[in-house]
Symmetry: C2
Subunit: 164 residues, 2 copies
């Protein structure tokens, strides 16, 4: 049995990203359908752009990609921000605070407080899927009621370390 020590860091492993991407898109559609919320064309466009890679994108970068399509008329920032607002609220996208950027959720539906490993080398971001951390325990020890948590670890992934 192969070691699975990195199986929760898909972003840092070689994988069939085509499949990864379509799996996440299907999951998104299903999730929205089951919750009776609308994944409109715009929202889906933005989600698809984010799912193209495991790298976070700025809002204006997304905007740029939307506007690359010459068939469609140019759109302005609020379009993107509104789609992102929706996707964030549903948990299909996360915000990477330390980069003012956005990334597709790697574990849609798991709701939990996400934690990110952000590689400075390849700029990919892995989303850990661990529910409770010691932090949450500490917070409650001092009587703090958690609403939302941001955990972003920057550094070098294994491969980028090897590449020097």
């Amino acid at each position: 049995m192969p070691s699975n020590k990195t199986t929760q860091c898909l972003a840092f492993e070689h994988h069939d990203h085509q499949r990864c991407q379509s799996r996440l898109l299907s999951a998104a559609k299903q999730l929205c359908h089951s919750q009776n919320i609308r994944l409109t064309e715009r929202r889906e466009q933005v989600l698809q752009i984010l799912l193209q890679s495991h790298q976070p994108m700025g809002a204006y970068e997304i905007l740029g990609q939307l506007n690359q399509n010459p068939d469609v008329s140019m759109v302005a920032p609020p379009i993107v921000y509104r789609a992102l607002e929706f996707l964030l609220s549903v948990g299909l996208v996360h915000r990477i605070e330390c980069k003012n950027a956005f990334i597709g959720c790697a574990h849609p539906g798991h709701a939990s407080a996400a934690q990110f490993l952000i590689c400075k080398g390849c700029e990919k971001v892995a989303e850990l899927d661990n529910p409770t951390t010691s932090l949450q325990q500490e917070a409650s020890q001092v009587g703090f009621m958690i609403d939302h948590s941001v955990v972003e670890i920057t550094g070098l992934c294994a491969e980028c370390q090897a590449d020097g």
Copy 2:
């Protein structure tokens, strides 16, 4: 012996802030002196402004306070950002990513990866002083080499919960 369960969350406790402030300023001076780096007047001004409260401040808010002094000529954003850059590099100030804001370090010299509890009620921020977390362990388990970590927990402090 009184419970010390919250002693590391000074920000959320009633305390003599006058003393807190001057203690941190002295510590900063000492730290810079011992490391032979210059805490210039500008840098000290900015640090003092941040030490006035346990609430994070945006760069332009700091700028506003600097420019409140009618004796001195107006300064422009780069002044503030440069002072902040210095103070961040020395570890006298931290950046609160989820607010694009800055806060005086509550434990100067401890170097460690800081973790913040951010209250939505009183807007105060407590800096935990815990060295290694389970996160760091997890990161190294997947071969990730940590450079910097951002841990920001938003919610309600005990007092704000009580206040309804």
